[in-house]
Amino acid sequence: MSLVAPKSARRPLPGWVEIVILPLVNVALAFLVVGVIVHIIGVDSFQALKLLLVGALGSSEAIGYTLYYATNFIFTGLAVAIAFHAGLFNIGGEGQAYIGGLGCGLAVLAFDRYLPGPLLILLAVLAAAAFGAAWAAVPAWMQAWRGSHIVITTIMFNFVASALMVYLLSNVLRPQGSMSPQSRGFSEAASLPSMQAVLKSVGIAVAPSALNLAFALALLSAVAVWVFLWRTSWGYALRTMGHNAEAATYAGTNLRRMTMLAMCLSGALAAGVAVNELLGVHHRIVLDFPAGYGFAGIAVALMGRSHPFGIVLAALLFGALQQGGTELSFEIPAMTREMVVVIQGLVILFCGALAHLPRPWLQALVGRRS
């Protein structure tokens, strides 16, 4: 899994170039190509770029939505990364988030009449994590004990999760007479406070948006993942397994148990999407709320070099693209939602898969100066 340990055949660049300049050059290259395409369909490139940026960062509402989208990307990015570090390729974030939502929702639906808000939310978050972890645990078990490849099984489990949720929402959780395949609404107590409300209570006025406390949870998770991976013996053993399974065996790590641990943590992190979407925004279990965040998490982790700090930055970029792209399609009719996906795809392509494209030029540049 070269995703964790990029082959060091490349000559290193100075740290600041690696961390700051290279990503900036990547983004700039992406926008250059985007600009050409946008120009071809007859839209003013600079106008579009401006709208994209202003749409993502231009107002407190725009920033709110950017951070709200970023929340989902942080969760799924961390989920993918923690599995990467264990040498496992978890493509099942989508399904784990979805089933996490089931756990989260069931906990609320069962107790929202009896429990006070904070307790209810705590319970719902734990239930989301537990269900997400459980959904990841099955492929993990199959890999650890039966040798079924986790890439295949996690993909399959996305479909199983989707089918299961559709069945449950259409047939079991849908209130009598309701048309939409979704559960009944959660009680007010189960709402994760919106960032607007939180900031208002400390005297800061911002425009309403979908941003809620789940963002704080996401940042907290990023820190927790960092501590876990680099400051605990479990994380040490997990990374050892990911880099070199034989060395992990030699060191006395039980690979099966470690596979289970890594995947369960991964699934639990993916379920953070459910917390953000269901407790923070929809206040009910809705169909298809993971909306591709699980898959996008792979790109986020890739771009963030599987480091929590990098993932947060990558998630912010993804969130800004998502929000700016939505805004773009609001403002310019020619920018259809499909066009926005093309733009996002290009940025991901340049910042993720082609991230090292400009490296030789930068090396030449830096080399000449020194």
């Binding site: 939505y65 259409s170 395949p181 925004v281 169909l287 909306a291 399609s329 609001f330």
Partner: protein, 338 residues
Amino acid sequence: MKRWVGPLIAVFAVACLGVFAPVQAQTPAAIKPAVVFSTGGKFDKSFNEGVSQGAEKFKKDTGIAVAEFEPSNETQFEQALRRFAQRGQDPIIAVGFAQAVALEKVAKEFPNIHFTIIDSVVNLPNVQSVVFREQEGSFLVGVLAALASKTGKIGFVGGMDIPLVRRFQCGFEQGIKYANPNAELITNMTGTTPAAWNDPGRGAELARGQIDRGVDVVYAAAGSTGLGILQATKDRGKLGIGVDSNQNHLHPGNMLTSMLKRVDVATYESFKAAMDHQWKGGTQVLGLKEGGVDWALDKDNEKLVTPEMKAKVEAAKADIISGKIVVHDYMSNNSCNR
């Protein structure tokens, strides 16, 4: 143009209902209308497309631009509605029952903006809810189906199995029984998920299955899935019934009729009313009487509809409008038995 007059008057009348203040003679206002489509997208050959056609017509007639947004998933409804409201778009149409929750939230935040939701009811003073008595239109096409069927076996293929589609089915069944108490109705639903609206292959398969059991008229109430149903029906030389918009042109000679649901009119009227300062909140239930639903008769199916059939359907229509026939609404008690 004649087709427009009835509904026009009807909606106008509904809009006027409960207006106590004297109607002011005002010049048309410069409005900034907007539409948030449902996730099916603007060109779904059904419901969203109807709204889009209404909006296009409004644009053509008045020269006023209509802002549009196609959300890529349900989570964007709220953001889209709020965004339009912030930009001062007014009125804003939310297409589809799935937007009800989001609309309720946003409408509360913007009490001065006018919203219209189609196919669902949101009880707020600044929301106009437009729902249709699909059972009435379905009753009429049911009467036609019973009269046209030679085998006495009639098929219904629904999209997603939800009360709304059951309402179509239930009205259809009542119409069939009204015209021929001995006729048999075979019902299939394509699925239980939103994907059931967009599965022509499965729709065709279900229609063929019904035809194999002797069915010779099939009512497709299944969004894009209906395209497959109607194709299969035509391929086997049987009669199909379209839904929502007039689909008679799809297979001229094999389309018995279409059950019209005038979302285009509702859209147009909502914008028009806002322009003329006549916009009014509350719930509009559009049935036969209001011209919200109807059956389609045009050159593509006139050869299939005999004068006797036409007379019988028009009689039933008149009876429903007058209240002589009451078509049971499935959604009133979640059952087709009253």
